[in-house]
Structure formats: C-alpha cells, structure tokens
C-alpha cells in the first residue's frame, strides 16, 4: 500500500499499522480514560463527604459513577495501558520488526477506542449501566431492576455491548502477541533469555486467551438476554450462580492479567536501577508461570457467600492460599535484588519501589478475604474496596514508573527528574491517605453512601486523599509536556545499566527498528547484515545489549554503541507495508452497528409483542415478570434500526476491502520459534483463535449443562420436534467438511475448476444446513415456542443459534474466496488460505458433533 504519512499529519494516525505508533495510540488513549475514570471517582468521592451524601448525585447517578469508574479503570485504562507498552516494547525486546499481523494490531486499537466511546455514549441514552462492574445476575437484566432503571435499559445494554466490543479487541491482540512472541524472536533468543517484561506479557496474553473468551461467552448470553429477551440471567433457576461462575472464571485471572505487566516493569526497573540481574531470575519466571496456571483454579473465592457447597469453598480457600506462595518468592526476589545491588533512586525506581510496598499491603489484606470465615465478615464492605485498590493501584504505580522509564525512548527527550520525584511524593501520600482509611471503615457497606457517623473523619480523609492523588497526575502530565517542548534530547540509553535490546537503538527508534537483522547467536545482540541492498557501513555492529539484566560490575555505558542512524532505510528491498485505512473503517462500522444494537430491544419487543403477550398469558417467564413490564419496552425506534442495519452494511464493505487489500508483512526468515516451529504465522494465528473459540463455545455449552444440572437433569426434554432433522444436518455438515478438504486438495493441484466446484459444494451444503435449521425453527415458532418461552428454550435457541452464526460467517468467507478464485485465480499458487478456511469450517463441524446429541437426543 501507500507510504506512511509523517507523524505530524492526522492521516498518519488513522492509517498506521506500525507497532510503535499503535503503542503510542494505546498509551495516550488509555491515559485519557484514566482521566475520565478518575473524574468519576472524584465526583462520587465528593458525594461521600457527608454520611448520606452531599446531594451532588442522585442515588442512581452515584451507582452509575461507581460502576462506570470500575469498568473504565479495569478495562479501558489498566489493561490497555499495558497493551500500549507491550505494543511498543515487545517487538523491540525480542528483535522483531513489527508484530506478526500489523493490520490486525491496528484493528485491535480501533475496536478498543470505539468501544470506549460507546461506553461513554451510554450516559446519554437514559443513563449508563449502574449495577456494579461485576454485572451480577439477576440485576443485569432489565426486568429485575424496575423503576428508574428501566429507562436506563438502553444505556445499560450499551455498556454491556461496549464491553463485548472491548473483548473482541483483546482477543485480536492476544492472537497477535502470541504469534509474535512465539514465532518472531531474534535468532539465539530462547525463551529463558527473554527480557522479563516480555515474559510477563507472554504470560498475560496466555491468560487473556482463556479468560477473556469465558467473559465473551458470558457477555454474548447477557446481550442476547437484554436485546432478545432470552432468559439466561433472568430466572431464579441458577441464573445468579451461572453468571458468577462465568464472570469470576474470567475475573480472577483478570486480576493477574492487569498486574503481570506491572510486575514485568518492576523486574526491569529493579534490574536497571540496582545495576544487577534479578536475583533468582529463573525461579521468578517459574513462579510467574505457576501463578498464571493457578489463576484459573481459584475463581470461587469470589463466591464464598453464595450457595455453593462447603467442600468446594474449602477447596478454593486452599488453592487461594496456594497462589500467594509464588508471589512471595517474587517479592523476595525483588527485595534481594535491592539488597545485593546498588540502588539509584530515580523516578522510575521510586514508583517501582512504591508499587512493591503497596502490593505487599494489598496482598496481606487479601489473605483475609481468602479465608472463608473472615470473608463472611468483610465481603461487600470497604475492606474489599481498600484491598483491591492496594493491589490494582500497585499495578498502576509500576505502570506509571514504566511511563517514566521508557519516556526517553519513546519521546526522544528527558523528563524533569525533580518534578518526577515530586509527583511520586504527592502520588504516594495521596494514595495512602485515600485508601488506608478504608481499611478502618471496613464496616461501611460497599457502593453505599450512607455510613455511620463515627466513620465520618476517615471518609473525609479519603476524599482529601483522592484529590491529592488525582492532582498528582497533573504533575506528571505537566512534566511530560515540558519535556516535549523544552526537555533535553535523550541519548540511546539514558540508564547506565539497562541491558535490554530497546536501549541499543536510537531514541526514538526508526520505523524499521533495526539496522540489519538482530541476532543473539553469539550471546550478545548483534546486527547481521542481511541484504545486498544494505549499505555496508552498518554491518555487523556490536551492540552491547545482553538479552536481559544489567550487572553492577560492568561500568561501560552502552549509549553510543549503535551504528544505526535514524534515517537509514536498510530494508527498502522488502517492501513491508505500513499503511491501511481499513482497520479504522472496520472499527467505525462495528461502532455504528453496535450503537444501533443497543436500542434493538424495543424493536424486538414491538415485533414480537403479540407472541410475548400470548405467552405470558399462559405461563410465567419467571415469577417476577408480567407482560406489561416487558411490553413497556416496545418502541419501534427507526434510528437504532437504521444504525444497526447501516452499520452491518458498512462493516461488511470494510471487511471486504480489508480482504482484498494487498498488504505485505514479511515473516521473519530466521527466528527462534520454540515450541511452535513448523507452522506458518497465519496458521498458528488461526489455531490460537480456534483455541479461544473452544472456550467461547465451551462456556455456552457449559451454561446449558450447568442449568440442566441445576434443574435436575431429567426435567429437560429435547426441544426440537424431529430428531431426524438434526441427523440430516449432521450428514450435511460432515459432507461439507469432506468437500472443503477436497477443495484443499484441488488448490494444491492448482485445479481451478475443481477448487471452485468443491468450495461451491461446501457453500451449497452450508446453505442447505441453514435451510433445515430455518425449517426447524419455523416449525417451533408456528407452535408458539420462542426463545423467551422458558429457560430450556433460551438455551436451545441461543446455543444452536450461535453455531448457526458461525456457519453464516463461514459462508461469507467462503463466498468471498469463491469470488477471489473466479476473478483473480486466487489460491492456485498458494493454497494456504483454503487450508485456514478449512480449519475454521471443520471446527464448526466438530461443535455440531457435540451439539447434536446434547440438544436432539438427550
């Protein structure tokens, strides 16, 4: 595609796919969300100035502020700021030129940005989601929150949809980073030698892959509940527990997902500013891996106050205590690194040290909550609020340290050291003033602004602390602004003992990152000359960056060691593309579609009102609901409808153009790939995507099993009338799997006619599958059985509907490929895309193999 416009033009930022640009976009956007979330916090903290509230906010506004604050901080600030660092630094630390899929990376960013915009739009749709960031059932469906909240149902739905869109963005990022870190490491850079920030990020994305997929499944079900009136979370038959299980299966790992990158930054800065390799580095890595695994084994410690049985509570208490052990090891490793090194108290180090102190306090108070008995006392109080802020803001503290640490690299300028230290002082004092009193007011119930008079002084201290803490960020922004305008130019490596690869190239690094091919084959970083097009001067230049970790005995600075000058374009021969507008356009299309979707409940109710009324006349949806309440939603809102349909059209067009665009992102020829050598980047990416889809489908199928177990297995009967229809569809799908694999054979033989015939047959079979399905559903509708007719019906329609949606996506992709073969003879030279399509199609087939017995036979 076209060249990349200069950094000063707006167009650059709309079309860029370069990892450093995207990193900067992520960092700045997340800081904006920090400010927005922070302002919400200051507002509701001001409201808490007096017991019973100052009247600044209404009750519902208070709930919205607390809820949105929590959502914004966790999802739109804390995770993305780490993503920003990872985008910028991971390719540099592992010696790659970019991420494996640059356009996908830009797409992740745009989906993230637009999802945040949707969240804030929700305030203007009658009010945002107000039921807490944990979105507990059954309050998460409108019919259980009558009164004021019914009006807010559109805004509430919007907040849920925004979160769903955010998760889509995260999933794309996960696929990208897993592929990049596993397959794009410079020669000689084994996993053990990888820098610790990259290590922490690698584990973060592995956790994200599994955790966010579970959340995605939960959000799909919740969105369908809210838009289509299905009943996953609306019943009194296990709905609350179903949500809690799905949410916390995601939510607990999420705690480590947001903390790990911060931990990685702490390891890096401790090494650099203690002038010493991390003590017990290998054990630290092993501990991190352990924590990542264990994080999926403790989720029920968030459910001690529910009706789960005592055995399982005890078990999860034990696993929770178990997970604190590897953390202890990491804490001691950091402390010993300080003891054994020579500490220099720069701003980044102060923040990292502060993070360590806060983390220790947060960890200790967490042990209280992990014990079932104490949790009965503390759950739902300000103790919890204090605890999780000590932990999470500990992460924030280290990330702020990271901002200072890498500021010279990213901006090319030094910040003001004294002002940085001033920031730290205000930050640390403000923070403790804000949260320590919350431990003391532990009897105050959480999310309530009525507290006992005796606690007044503590709450007022906290509010003052909040303003000091909030103000401290202004010092940081002022410092950075000063630095951009007047700050002295930064050398390549301003920190004496930093040893990771990003410090071996200029600040800021050139577009292509390296003056040649980075290699660690000799033990230290070297740049190997690669192509003859490369100017001879910059050949094999001995940078002195070790793979990781400084040492106090080495006293030479590495700042002037690289031979690369910023404007040297060594790699013009490869023609890597950098610019594409389509990620932005896809983001915009998705944004418009979801904007419309948030208001579709009214349309659905309007269209189905007769059936709903008829249905509610005979049998209760659930005891709390009556027809009037639901029919109150009816509102054929053509604006929303137009947005929804128009958005789908725009999105389809953008996806089509994205698919057609020529975009070359060369795969590294020489790279360390353990343990995923022998598959191409794209194929690996497809497999990672399928792994996440296994979880999404698994969680939806799991929801069916869970609800069925809850109901007593034999109270459910198969919903479809005809088992043979399911069997017929089994045959059809199996046959389509067979034809799609034949299509691959044809592509390998460069047989255009055969390829078109086989792919065409696959598509026809897919359409036949959909026709049988439509016939089956039509028959059910004719009998008056709809998705809102009862929990079993919701489970049947949504699970098989999600599968059908997968078939439809497959049909769209297949149709696109057929068009490409017909028009430009695609895939005859390179059959791999046919194989990738097949992987997906077979996966959808496998899902049906499981669904058929579950929904038609049992």
């Amino acid at each position: 595609m076209s060249d990349l416009p200069p950094k000063r033009s707006l167009k650059r930022w709309l079309v860029t796919t370069n990892h450093k640009d995207v990193g900067i976009l992520y960092l700045t956007t997340s800081l904006v969300f920090l400010l927005l979330g922070g302002i919400l916090a200051l507002i509701f903290r001001a409201h808490l100035w007096e017991s019973g509230g100052t009247g600044l906010l209404s009750g519902n506004e208070f709930n919205q502020s607390v809820t949105t604050h929590g959502l914004v901080m966790v999802f739109w600030f804390l995770s993305p700021i780490a993503t920003g660092f990872a985008n910028y630094l991971v390719p540099l630390q592992i010696g790659a030129k970019d991420l494996a899929f640059p356009r996908l990376n830009a797409l992740s960013y745009w989906l993230y940005l637009f999802s945040g915009v949707l969240l804030f739009i929700s305030f203007f749709q009658g009010g945002s989601w107000s039921g807490g960031w944990t979105i507990y059932a059954p309050l998460n469906v409108p019919m259980y929150t009558p009164g004021a909240v019914i009006e807010a149902s559109v805004g509430g739905t919007m907040a849920i949809i925004a979160l769903m869109m955010f998760v889509i963005s995260i999933t794309m990022g996960t696929i990208n980073f897993l592929t990049t870190i596993h397959r794009q490491r410079a020669e000689g850079l084994g996993l053990w030698n990888m820098p610790l920030f990259t290590w922490s990020w690698l584990l973060t994305v592995w956790m994200m892959l599994f955790a966010f997929a579970a959340l995605f499944a939960a959000l799909i079900m919740l969105t369908i509940d809210r838009v289509m009136l299905t009943q996953y979370f609306a019943t009194d038959q296990g709905s609350g527990l179903l949500w809690a299980h799905l949410f916390w299966f995601f939510g607990h790992p999420e705690v480590y997902i947001v903390f790990f990158p911060a931990l990685g930054i702490m390891f890096e800065t401790f090494q650099t500013f203690c002038g010493r390799r991390l003590v017990g580095r290998k054990w630290v890595i092993i501990s991190m891996i352990l924590v990542a695994v264990q994080s999926f084994l403790v989720w029920m410690h968030h459910m001690f106050l529910t009706t789960i049985n005592l055995e399982v509570k005890t078990l999860f208490m034990a696993t929770t205590i178990g997970i604190s052990l590897p953390f202890d090891l990491m804490v001691f490793a950091l402390i010993y690194t300080m003891v054994k090194g020579r500490v220099r108290f720069t701003t980044p180090f102060l923040f990292s040290l502060g993070a360590l102190v806060l983390f220790i306090l947060g960890g200790i108070t967490g042990v209280f909550l992990g014990a079932v008995v104490l949790d009965y006392e503390f759950r739902g109080t300000y103790w919890v609020v204090a605890h999780f802020h000590y932990v999470m803001v500990s992460g924030v503290t280290a990330l702020v340290g990271g901002l200072y640490y890498w500021w010279p690299k990213i901006s090319g300028r030094m910040y003001h050291e004294f002002t940085g230290k001033l920031h730290f002082a205000a930050y640390f004092i403000g923070f403790n003033l804000l949260y320590f009193p919350m431990f003391l007011t532990w009897e105050t119930p959480r999310r309530v602004f009525h507290y006992s008079g005796g606690d007044l002084i503590w709450h007022q201290m906290a509010t003052i602390g909040a303003f000091v803490f909030g103000f401290s960020f202004l010092i940081m922004f002022a410092n950075f602004a000063w630095s951009l305008i007047w700050g002295p130019k930064a050398p390549d490596n301003p920190w004496k003992y930093s040893r990771t690869a990003e410090w071996a190239i200029p600040s800021p690094p050139p577009l292509d990152n390296w003056p040649g091919r980075p290699s660690y084959a000799s033990g230290t970083l070297e740049f190997v000359e690669e192509t003859s097009a490369h100017p001879a001067g910059a050949a094999t230049d001995g940078g002195t960056a070790a793979t990781d970790g400084g040492t106090a005995t080495v006293d030479a600075t590495v700042s002037e060691s690289t031979g690369a000058s910023g404007d040297e374009h060594a790699h013009e021969g490869e023609h890597a593309d950098h610019a594409s507008i389509w990620p932005f356009m896809i983001g915009l299309g998705t944004f418009i579609m979801f904007l419309g979707m948030s208001g579709m409940t009214g349309v659905v109710v309007e269209l189905m009102s007769d059936q709903i009324a008829a249905h509610l006349g005979t049998e209760d949806v659930s005891s709390n609901v009556n027809a009037d309440q639901i029919l109150g939603f009816a509102d054929m809102n053509y604006v929303y409808l137009t947005f929804f349909l128009g958005g789908i059209g725009f999105l389809s067009y953008s996806l089509f153009m994205f698919g057609k665009e020529q975009f070359n992102a060369p795969e590294m020829e020489v790279a360390e790939r353990w343990p995923f050598e022998g598959v191409g980047n794209t194929k690996f990416g497809v497999w990672v995507f399928l792994a996440s889809d296994v979880i999404v489908f698994g969680a939806v199928i799991g929801a069916y099993l869970f609800m069925r177990i809850w109901a007593g297995w034999f109270t459910f009967e198969p919903i479809p009338d005809y088992t043979w229809a399911g069997l017929l569809n089994t045959y059809i799908l199996l046959t389509s799997s067979f034809t799609v694999i034949l299509a691959l054979v044809m592509a390998e033989r460069s047989n255009k006619k055969g390829l078109m015939a086989c792919l065409g047959a696959t598509i026809m079979l897919g359409l036949a599958f959909m026709a049988v399905k439509a016939w089956e559903w039509g028959g059910k509708f004719a009998q008056g059985d709809y998705w809102f007719s009862g929990l079993e019906y919701s489970l049947y329609y949504v699970t098989t509907g999600l599968h059908a949606l997968h078939v439809i996506f497959g049909l769209l992709v297949g149709g696109f490929m057929l068009y490409r073969i017909y028009t430009i003879d695609a895939y005859l030279e390179d059959e791999r895309p046919v194989e990738f399509f097949g992987l997906y199609w077979h996966f959808v087939d496998i899902v049906w193999v499981i669904l058929f017995p579950l929904f038609y036979l049992m």
């Binding site: 599994f210 579970a214 296990g238 527990l241 179903l242 299980h245 799905l246 299966f249 999926f296 084994l297 029920m300 459910m303 009706t307 789960i308 049985n309 399982v312 343990p675 995923f676 022998g678 598959v679 497999w687 990672v688 399928l690 792994a691 296994v694 979880i695 698994g698 969680a699 199928i701 799991g702 099993l705 869970f706 177990i709 809850w710 088992t723 043979w724 069997l727 089994t730 045959y731 199996l734 046959t735 799997s737 067979f738 694999i741 034949l742 691959l744 054979v745 390998e748 194989e835 097949g838 992987l839 077979h842 087939d845 496998i846 193999v849 499981i850 058929f852 017995p853 036979l857 049992m858």
Partner: protein, 86 residues
C-alpha cells in the same frame, strides 16, 4: 500429506458414527448407556476431524496441546461449577 483416499475413508466412518449416535437413542439401551455411548462416539468423531481433516496429526504436537488445554479449561469450569451446586 493429502490423500483423497484417506479423507474418503474418514468421511464414511464419520457418517457411520453419526448414525450410531442416533441409533443409541432410537433403540432402548437405557439412558446411561445411550448417553455414554453417544458421547464416546462424539469424542471419536471430533478426534478424527481434528486429527485428519485439520491435519493435527501432521502439525507440531504443541498445537494439539494448546487445543487440549482449551478443552481442559472448559471441563474444569463445567465440572467444578456443576459440582459446586451438588
């Protein structure tokens, strides 16, 4: 690695197994046997599709392990959650 013959044999087996699932519930085997039997057939079918149509047998083992971890996660969630309400 691609052999139309292998693919065809697998296709026929898959059709047979699919029919088998149906038969389990059509003739009276008792619910538990039928359920166990169909699930077993479903697992075999999934493995055949994944192994041969998706070529997992030819890919590095690590890919299969990754998919197994994903499946394990689902089992972990469903079994633990199912147990928690017993």
């Amino acid at each position: 690695m691609t052999s139309v013959k292998t693919y065809t044999i697998i296709y026929v087996i898959l059709l047979a197994l699919g029919t088998g699932k149906f038969l389990f519930f059509t003739f009276d085997f008792g619910y538990a046997t039928a359920m166990g039997g169909t699930m077993l057939l479903a697992v075999i079918k999934s493995l055949l599709i994944a192994g041969y149509y998706q070529h997992l047998v030819d890919e590095p083992r690590s890919i299969s392990y990754m998919m197994l971890v994903a499946v394990f996660m689902v089992f972990l969630l469903v079994i633990a959650a199912g147990y928690s309400i017993q």
